[in-house]
Symmetry: C2
Subunit: 230 residues, 2 copies
């Protein structure tokens, strides 16, 4: 898009095959998890023989890396789409939940057990920053809303810590309280979603969505959401 619009037929064909490979890869990941992803199986599904795929991806890890990149891209897009009207934290949470429930294995590919040796390339961390920026926008908007204006930020001790360690927010003009809320949003939503998707709630009879909603409520109210607050 940024470079020359002239794409040779070869490049177009190559790009098409690469996306077809990724499509089959996502299919395998959805059904058996990322660890069971097999280049050989993908090749057979596409009617080619194994080593042919190495013309398109140098290794299994390179393919997975691109899948991770696409996953982050997809999450960043749905986040921005959900934040379109006015950057609502509730809309973000619901979009995140739907995105995660839609493709659990994709969620785990991004936020699940890390491969010990693997190091994320720079562009994926760039997309992460994009996601975080959208989240920070929503947190700032929430803090500016009428129901929140009544109180001066009590500046929790962690918010004070963040005031001195905010480089991860880039040059985003969010106050420390918003930074704290964004991190709490991330970790709490992930806490519920991760355990739910992993099936740790299956034996238990309650509705995970209601737990998710309760955590979101606590986040929006800025502290409420748990019983018996003194």
């Amino acid at each position: 898009m940024a470079d020359t619009g002239t794409t040779t037929p070869r490049e177009r064909y190559r790009a098409q095959v690469r996306t077809e490979i990724k499509d089959h890869a996502w299919g395998q990941i959805a059904s058996a998890g990322a660890s069971a992803l097999s280049l050989n199986a993908i090749a057979k599904q596409m009617g080619m023989s194994g080593p042919a795929l190495y013309r398109y991806y140098a290794s299994r890890d390179e393919l997975i890396t691109e899948l991770i990149r696409d996953g982050y891209r997809s999450l960043a897009d749905t986040f921005q789409a959900a934040a379109a009207p006015g950057a609502d934290l509730t809309a973000l949470a619901h979009a995140l939940r739907r995105w995660a429930l839609d493709h659990p294995q994709r969620y785990f590919l991004l936020y699940g057990t890390p491969v010990p040796g693997y190091h994320a390339p720079d562009d994926t961390t760039a997309i992460s920053s994009e996601i975080m920026a959208t989240l920070l926008d929503a947190c700032v908007a929430l803090a500016d809303s009428p129901s929140e204006r009544s109180e001066v930020s009590p500046a929790t001790s962690f918010a004070a810590h963040l005031a001195d360690h905010r480089q991860w927010a880039g040059d985003h003009p969010a106050p420390p309280a918003a930074l704290h809320r964004a991190l709490a949003f991330w970790t709490r939503m992930h806490g519920v979603l991760s355990l739910e998707l992993a099936g740790h709630f299956t034996g238990m009879s309650f509705d995970p969505e209601q737990l998710f909603a309760a955590e979101l409520d606590g986040l929006l109210a800025g502290g409420a959401g748990l019983p018996a607050g003194p």
Copy 2:
């Protein structure tokens, strides 16, 4: 322990080899993750040839299952040890954090990305209940503490839901508010620990322990812990 105390030398030898296999397995998991666990490599480390291990574990999955069982057992034990004095939620949180940071891959083996086809055996879910019972004790104790007595449980809507869906708590006499707090404890601590252990905070400059402490504070205060509460 429950059956005859007379163990034949063969049984003793067998048990010893099984634990030696598991020791090597933990070593591999700690260094390269559970997905890279190789029975062949373990056999070589022990000076045996590959198929010999199949006399002790029918399959790689059976070995991993036993590792998971041992992992749950270890967590349940440290939880009970931490709760020994008076079932303090703070002590539980710190014990959990130390336990997780000590062996990150062990934590992920229990709470990380699940294997799609895998179904946990009954005894591991039994140990999970044991862990949950210890957590519920601490939550009840917190609710009975002086600082919490001032208020009648506001009964969040999720707590109301739990009042009707509490079978997972077994016959534990915890009120719905305590059930809610226990689940929030679980998901929030897991949210921070999981992302921290996976390295999602590494690029960011803040101290994950302070975020963990902030989430714990919010849990103890029953709602505070986030800035700008209305």
